[in-house]
């Protein structure tokens, strides 16, 4: 095809200009018509993808777009075969292959750097790098009982591990245990393990930078470039679009299990990728109007001299007044106590001070009292505090209401002996799943199995079920992908506008606070230093967050 020819030429010229090794014309990996369903739900539909040697191919998509399933297929994970296999063809170096186990994938030269580290903490770096590929020596027993009884040749293993680490210019003792290593190092040990495999052709990076700091990530991207220059094909899965733009040659965008676009990097723009990923334009929509404007004449909650003993997020004598019907943002740098406010008011951490709601004192250090004062809390610690991971979605949604408000229970003389009303729980859960667009197999699915965004929606559904007057939300979009972020923010706005809920939202992302809040309070060293309107300039925000506000500022 002339188009392909031109395309190849185009890439080659570009690479030659960049001084990189030219990619070969043949493909290392070709996926053809991959289709996969889990229990009747199609998660991948007719996916085609090809990668050349030396190419860095970015695969982007939201959580739940099917990236992980695709990688599981490529890596022969048991979960694929236990659920009925898949349709389509995987070709390596032009030959059709069947990858029925991770072991087979390894033999074929496919390596994987996993999102969650596949390292054994009790093993040394060397033992991890050489896991199941140990160098061994024959001995008397092995001559009788077979190769499994050969003794480990530790010096040879260390030498290989050293070489692999040096290739990544990582200076760390190869005999150090993995357990105490910093996160960034663990990532590199993973990579060292893959490149130690002599026949490695294709390396899959599954969101490798998600856990890294910026400088570590930069270092990692450098390492990836070097590996690609040596002729290894790289499949790079990520959320971070600027990384895609900085290192990939080609980009494939996956949405809801289908490929929506494939393009060379030069033709791509971040905004366009983001748009294709979510399938809707991300822009700052105008917020819907209200019947009345919140003002100081009606105060929903007034906090004075609040002190909270939350480790790392201490609140030191904070005063704040929340207007009825507003969305109040709480911003500030990490460690200055913004997260501690909601946790203190809702009784999660030891607190003292005065919280008055509707003329009544709300007792502190008492979660139940806080809930009964018509307040609800969506915690920043979703998996630790926010959810019962091994319970169903519906139970997570109604549990707090059942406990604190005796909702969803049959009538009975003793509250503690009243039975659950399964029918009402189910219908409410189904409504919430529909209204909040929780992607799941049904209300009985365990929350642990949901993606981060959907888990967050369950948390919000639970808070909403309490029908609170004041809703505290901490870091609502932490650890969830772009599309889900927007949905979560939209939900908060909807609660506020249609149900008149007062929302107090704490977030480290100033951008999202400015997107939906009426006012934003900035916390510095455990106190509010000022309250800004969302359209205040970046300079004003920057100065205030650094504690350099000349005088405490209030907006009207």
């Amino acid at each position: 095809m002339p188009g392909t020819l031109f395309y190849n030429l185009h890439i080659r010229i570009r690479l030659v200009l960049r001084g990189e090794k030219a990619m070969s014309d043949s493909f290392v990996l070709e996926l053809k018509g991959i289709t996969k369903a889990y229990f009747g739900t199609t998660v991948l539909k007719d996916v085609n993808l090809s990668v050349r040697p030396g190419e860095i191919h970015a695969l982007v998509g939201e959580n739940g777009a099917g990236k992980s399933t695709l990688m599981n297929i490529l890596f022969g994970m048991p979960v694929i075969h236990e659920t009925g296999g898949f349709d389509g063809e995987v070709m390596l170096d032009g030959e059709s292959v069947r990858i029925e186990s991770p072991r087979r994938a390894m033999e074929l030269g496919i390596g994987m750097v996993h999102q969650e580290f596949m390292l054994l903490p009790g093993f040394t770096i060397t033992e991890n790098i050489k896991l199941n590929r140990e160098i061994t020596r024959k001995n008397v027993v092995s001559r009788v009982l077979g190769a499994k009884m050969e003794t480990l040749n530790v010096p040879a293993m260390r030498k290989d591990a050293r070489a692999a680490l040096e290739k990544l210019s990582l200076s760390v003792d190869e005999w150090a245990p993995v357990a105490g290593l910093p996160v960034g190092y663990k990532q590199f040990v993973e990579i060292a393990r893959e490149i130690d495999k002599k026949n490695i052709k294709l390396l899959v990076f599954d969101e490798p930078t998600a856990v890294l700091t910026e400088s570590e990530a930069e270092y990692l991207l450098d390492a990836m470039r070097r590996l690609a220059a040596e002729g290894i094909a790289i499949l790079f899965i990520t959320h971070r679009l600027d990384e895609v733009m900085s290192i990939s040659h080609n980009i494939t965008i996956l949405r809801d299990g289908e490929i929506v676009a494939q393009m060379p990097k030069d033709e791509a723009k971040i905004e366009r990728i983001a748009e294709l990923m979510v399938g809707r334009k991300i822009e700052r929509a105008k917020l819907p109007p209200r019947g009345f404007e919140p003002s100081d004449s009606e105060i929903a909650l007034s906090i004075s001299d609040l002190r909270v003993e939350m480790p790392g997020e201490r609140v030191k004598g904070l005063n704040l007044r929340v207007r009825k019907g507003e969305i109040l943002g709480i911003g500030g740098l990490a460690g200055h106590g913004k997260v501690g406010i909601a946790n203190g008011v809702m009784g999660m951490y030891p607190a003292m001070g005065e919280v008055v709601k509707g003329g009544m004192d709300v007792p502190l250090n008492d979660s139940k009292a806080a809930l009964q004062a018509q307040m609800a809390f969506v915690s920043e610690d979703r998996r630790g505090v926010g959810l019962l991971l091994d319970e169903s979605i519906e139970m997570n949604i109604v549990l707090t209401s059942m406990q604190a408000q005796n909702k969803f229970l049959y009538k009975g003389p003793l509250n503690s002996l009243r039975l659950q009303n399964g029918k009402r729980i189910r219908s409410h859960a189904l409504k919430m799943i529909k209204d909040l667009d929780i992607r799941c197999t049904g209300p009985m699915q365990l929350v642990r199995r949901l993606s981060g965004g959907n888990q967050q929606k369950v948390c919000i559904a639970r808070a909403f079920t309490l029908e609170p007057e004041v809703l505290w939300v901490s870091e609502p979009t932490r650890g969830i992908d772009v599309g889900a972020k927007q949905l979560v923010l939209d939900l908060l706005v909807e609660f506020n506008r249609t149900h008149g809920m007062t929302v107090v939202m704490t977030s480290s992302e100033l951008a999202e606070l400015r997107k939906i809040c009426d006012r934003i309070a900035i916390v510095y060293e455990g106190k509010v230093v000022g309250i800004l309107p969302p359209d205040a300039s970046d300079v004003e925000y920057g100065l205030m967050m650094a504690g350099k506000a000349g005088n405490v500022k209030e907006v009207g």
Partner: protein, 395 residues
């Protein structure tokens, strides 16, 4: 064995880390070591207290301990490999003990005697134990994460099958006639079988060289009478060496990997179920041999009870030695046998001396065995919870 072995052992992971640890000894480290070994230290103090309270003759204690060390260590060592492979405490060794007894019933029936008879019993027990170990593995591989309780219940179930075979089917379906070991009705085995044929076969297997008897005086302090079960201790030492050898092999490395994280091992291409099966089969065969060693020392077999508490007592001994459900060493096993059995010997005597009621000590034995297991398991569950909470918080 080849002369390479010592050179290799210097490079094993354990040797390395220990060497590393020794380089940084300071008071903090000593405190940590004490904390780590708090369980054996506690039982050591208890033993010393008991010995003083009972006014026990040390020579008597040492003689008893030597015998019990030979009698029990092999069984306790058979627990190590499943722990390394992440299966926890293998309550399923009861099944192995049954295999050993089945083999012993066969050899006793045919009247094979002495070390030869014992060796034959050991040989016969291997295929039986391998099949049973494989069946155990089939079940435990379906019950990942709940191996201990499953293994324990499996032991109870196997006991039922054992009784069916030797109490009902033998003589009725399985043709066998032997009034000496069978019930007068001709169906089923007697409750107690005299193991005269192989009694002390292993313990005294080297008597033609030296009978292991020590009775002398050093200065004016009487030493002995002690009787060392030489061949048994040699066999046990061989097993200990074999286990430490296994850990240094590729198979051992795979077991350690599976023991730490099955998922990661799977991703690394290790056949997890197979590795666990191998660990269980080895453990079951070793338990069968261990039970044979135990019985040749006791000299009689309680046909329907001898195996019942094998798992519990061996596990209690290992835990007293400072092992956990996830980590156990050969030294844990040996120290554990010594401490646990010191208490076993001492507690009835101490009960008699202090309260005039020997039963108190008897109660204490049972209390000790089960209490140790309960506390160790609860501690383990608690530690696991603390750890998972820490992980949740991303520490």
């Amino acid at each position: 064995m080849p002369e390479k072995v010592p050179a290799q052992s210097a490079n094993t992971p354990n040797a390395q880390t220990q060497a590393h640890a020794h380089a940084h000894v300071n008071t903090k480290k000593i405190g940590a070591v004490l904390g780590k070994n708090s369980v054996p230290i506690f039982f050591l103090l208890l033993s010393i207290g008991g010995i003083i309270a009972a006014g026990l003759d040390i020579n008597y204690l040492i003689n008893e301990l030597l015998g019990r060390l030979g009698r029990n260590s092999f069984l306790v060592l058979s627990l190590l490999i499943p722990i390394i492979a992440g299966l926890g405490l293998n309550f399923g060794i009861v099944v192995g003990a049954m295999a050993g007894q089945a083999a012993l019933i066969i050899t006793t029936h045919y009247g094979w005697t002495g070390l030869g008879g014992f060796g034959l019993a050991a040989l016969i027990s291997v295929p039986i134990a391998m099949v049973l170990g494989w069946l155990t593995a089939l079940v435990l591989n379906k019950a990942k994460g709940r191996e201990m309780v499953t293994g324990m219940i499996l032991g109870f179930f196997a006991n039922g099958v054992y009784q069916l075979v030797f109490l009902v089917l033998l003589g009725w379906v399985i043709p066998m006639k032997n009034p000496a070991i069978m019930l007068p009705s001709g169906i089923g085995l007697k409750n107690t079988i005299d193991l005269f044929d192989i009694s002390y076969a292993l313990d005294r297997g080297l008597d033609f060289i030296w009978d292991g008897f020590i009775m002398t005086e050093v200065g004016s302090i009487p030493i002995g009478p002690w009787r060392i079960p030489i061949l048994t201790l040699v066999v046990t030492a061989l097993l200990a060496w074999a286990i430490s050898f296994l850990i240094r092999t590729r198979l051992g490395q795979q077991m350690r990997a599976v023991g730490q994280d099955m998922h990661i091992a799977e991703v690394a291409g290790i056949n997890v179920n197979r590795t666990r099966t191998v660990a269980l089969v080895i453990s079951t065969v070793l338990a069968a041999w261990g039970q044979l060693i135990f019985l040749q020392n006791i000299g009689t077999m309680n046909t329907y009870n001898s195996h019942e508490q094998v798992g519990t007592f061996a596990i209690a001994a290992l835990l007293v030695g400072g092992a956990t459900t996830r980590k156990a060493t050969i030294w844990n096993a040996i120290v554990g046998v010594l401490l646990f059995h010191t208490l076993f010997i001492v507690s009835p005597l101490a009960g008699q001396k202090l309260l005039g009621i020997p039963q108190v000590g008897e109660y204490f034995r049972v209390f000790l065995a089960y209490g140790v297991i309960a506390v160790a398991l609860a501690l383990h569950a608690w530690q696991a919870k603390v750890k998972s909470n820490k992980e949740l918080r991303g520490e």
